[in-house]
């Protein structure tokens, strides 16, 4: 029996897989002096994989394989494109950081690309086993990447914590999935959607769906499954942190989208209350804890927990009123915008650390006086994260609140109020960095001489800034992508 390959549909995955193997082997033959060629190969592979994504999007329609376990549709293409773009920016961030460091090993790119492959598989996965394999393919390389600075105890701690919690959450999730299979008799989300409302064991189904979602809650670092985040983000190399906070987190959200919307949408009682609590707890705790941070990476870690809470809001209201469509759109659009602004903020942090080797917020004093362009860009990214118009972040918040309004139930309203209050709280800690940069003197420990910033890093910052500004002013660009993803 022929499984019926559609090679056009899996061309992006094939290109990335081939790149992984080529990079792995080619790295043996490059001399240490010419090690940057490895990163060039990886970059070429990522850019080449975008070509079939574009041709598939132009052709349109939905392609299926393996009896519906693998689906290429506008939703999966939009997110595959996002993951490729985010990986491209992460490569730009990493090239000099990893290349200059004491920790250079060409395998860095192999691991990064494999994690990317897992994300691409995840966008098309409509089957529990594929989703699980994709999630592991995302996670396992990042365990190693988090511990990349082997002689630094903080990096070791980051990797160990991330690894142990990641493995634990996988086990819990797998247990939930096995219960789902036992109750519905299928691993295909399409069949689960048909069988789930008919199962007589509702309480067991709630347990099964809850355990499955717990696994993804770890991945998207929702409170109370967030304990690993600040330490791992601080200890990991900063480009890896950027990758974890954007791509890896979005991978978890994509899995949640598929499972909630394609699998269990007809039985909202099983997932809605749990996601409501996760969303509210993440927003409150993430924002309040971020207020007290003195290290910018830790602050961004708590900020990413809080942003994850905002992304969970549309999930928690999806089944109420007529919010199904707008909440799906809201999650996709929020993910795209969050990716651009968070990668941008981390890019500036990396560039700044080349100068001071510090991530303390106090060392940002006076940045506006000696490096005004950086200070402006950092201000743009932080205000966008806070949600100030006309930067892209406001549109992300707007679509989130629109889904709350579409839902219109009391539960949704309460969640909307919490989100609104916490958006205001968020301004405090983002603006504290801005104030430090513009209104405080240069601390003695910082040498205000200009430092050569590599081209790749500048390019990464430029790409993110352009997206944040353009989408902020013309949100139709991403709004259209969101509409297409939600089904035309």
């Amino acid at each position: 029996m022929n499984p019926g390959w559609d090679f056009h549909a899996i061309a992006p995955e094939i290109i990335i897989s081939a790149t992984i193997i080529v990079v792995l082997i080619a790295d043996f033959f490059f001399q240490y002096r010419r090690r940057f060629q490895t990163s060039q190969l990886a970059t070429i592979g990522v850019l080449a994989a975008m070509v079939p994504v574009v041709t598939l999007a132009v052709n349109g329609g939905t392609r299926q394989m393996f009896g519906g376990a693998f689906v290429v549709d506008p939703y999966s293409l939009a997110l595959t494109g996002f993951f490729l773009a985010a990986a491209y920016v992460t490569l730009l961030l990493s090239v000099d950081y990893i290349g200059d460091g004491d920790y250079y090993q060409g395998e860095f790119y192999v691991l990064l690309l494999t994690s990317l492959l897992g994300m691409m598989v995840m966008t098309s996965a409509r089957d529990l086993i594929t989703i699980f394999v994709a999630l592991e393919t995302i996670s396992i390389p990042t365990f190693v990447l988090a511990g990349w600075r082997k002689h630094d105890p903080k990096s070791n701690e980051a990797a160990i914590k991330y690894y142990l919690i990641g493995v634990l959450s996988s086990a819990i999730m797998l247990y939930g999935m096995s219960l789902v299979f036992g109750l519905t008799g299928s691993t295909l989300l399409r069949d689960i959607a048909l069988a789930a409302p008919r199962t007589p064991h509702t309480s067991l189904l709630i347990v099964a769906v809850f355990l499955t979602l717990v696994g993804f809650a770890f991945k998207v670092s929702a409170v109370p499954f967030h304990f690993w985040v600040p330490d791992t983000y601080e200890g990991a190399p900063t480009p890896v942190t950027a990758f974890l906070s954007v791509s890896s987190k979005a991978g978890g959200f994509v899995a949640m989208l598929s499972i909630v919307f394609f699998g269990f949408f007809a039985v909202p009682d099983t997932w809605q209350p749990a996601l409501w609590v996760l969303a509210a707890a993440s927003m409150v705790l993430g924002n309040l804890a971020a207020l007290r941070q003195t290290n910018i990476v830790r602050m961004l870690a708590y900020s990413s927990i809080a942003q994850g809470g905002f992304i969970l809001v549309p999930f928690a209201v999806a089944a109420d009123g007529h919010a199904a469509r707008s909440s799906f759109e809201a999650v996709v659009i929020y993910l795209l915008i969050y990716g651009a602004m968070n990668l941008g903020a981390f890019a500036v942090v990396i560039a700044f650390a080349r100068r001071t080797r510090s991530a303390e917020i106090s060392t940002y004093g006076g940045l506006g006086s000696y490096a005004p362009s950086f200070a402006v860009l950092m201000t743009v990214f932080l205000l966008s994260l806070a949600g100030l118009p006309p930067l892209a972040g406001w549109f992300a918040k707007f679509v989130m609140f629109r889904s709350v309004l579409d839902a219109g139930t009391p539960g949704a309203t309460v969640l909307g109020v919490i989100a609104a209050v916490m958006s205001v709280v968020a301004f405090f800690y983002y603006l504290r960095v801005v104030r430090e940069m513009w209104f405080h003197p240069v601390p003695d420990s910082v040498n205000p001489e200009p430092v050569q910033i590599p081209l790749a890093l500048n390019a990464a910052i430029g790409i993110c800034a352009a997206i944040v500004l353009i989408v902020g002013i013309y949100p139709q660009v991403f709004a259209r992508i969101g509409e297409l993803a939600a089904g035309g």
Binding site: G101, E107, T114, I129, I140, H151, G182, H201
Partner: protein, 200 residues
């Protein structure tokens, strides 16, 4: 009839090996007795028409996990007179209690109805081929895609393990320098470019 005889022989082997494993004084002997238990259970799987499970049992447990035990024993150094004095005194009574509870659960659940509504027992295995063939068929048709992705995942797990286990990520020259310094501090001396890295 033959099935009956083989079952009792294998049950006796498994029980005997399990008891002597617990009582063995030499850890290597204990590990080898564990292999015996696992092989005996694999034979019982074969009796139940679960050929794939039997093969997996031998490959995964006997092949991989016990070998891992032996590696650890070898690396820690094996002493013939291994101390059997138990550092955690409450372990033994706890093990006995848990064993009794486990046995009671097992007896209670035999023939009991499960959540799905059907009692546990041998499932259907009609249709063409044994279960190895049927597992293979679904692995290479409906689950081919995750199977292929798993292949890459396993390659990368090996690569990641090697990367982390390698003593250092430095080029050979610097690695020598490190060894001369005789500790793991930052080797600033060698390259001009290292001065602006590894923060934060």
């Amino acid at each position: 009839m033959a099935e009956f005889v083989i079952f009792f022989i294998m049950a006796a082997v498994a029980l005997g090996a399990a008891i002597s494993m617990v009582l063995a004084r030499n850890p290597v002997h204990a590990a080898l007795l564990l292999v015996t238990v696992l092989v005996a259970i694999a034979v019982m799987f074969l009796l139940q028409d679960a050929q794939l499970l039997a093969a997996v049992q031998i490959i995964v447990y006997a092949g991989a996990i016990v070998i891992l035990f032996l590696f650890v024993i070898m690396l820690l150094g094996v002493d013939k007179s291994e101390s059997l004095h138990d550092p955690v005194r409450s372990q033994r009574p706890a093990a006995i209690v848990l064993g009794v509870v486990g046995l009671a659960e097992l007896l209670f659940l035999v023939g009991h109805h499960w959540a799905t509504g059907t009692s546990s027992g041998p499932g259907l295995n009609d249709g063409s081929g044994g279960n190895v063939e049927r597992v293979a068929r679904s692995l290479f048709t409906s689950y081919l895609w995750p199977f292929e992705v798993t292949a890459i995942l396993l390659v990368v797990a090996v690569v990641g393990g090697v990367v982390l286990a390698r003593r250092s990520g430095l080029p050979p020259q610097q690695e020598l320098e490190l060894e001369r310094d005789d500790d793991d501090t930052e080797p600033d001396a060698m390259t001009e470019s290292t001065s602006e890295v590894s923060a934060p």
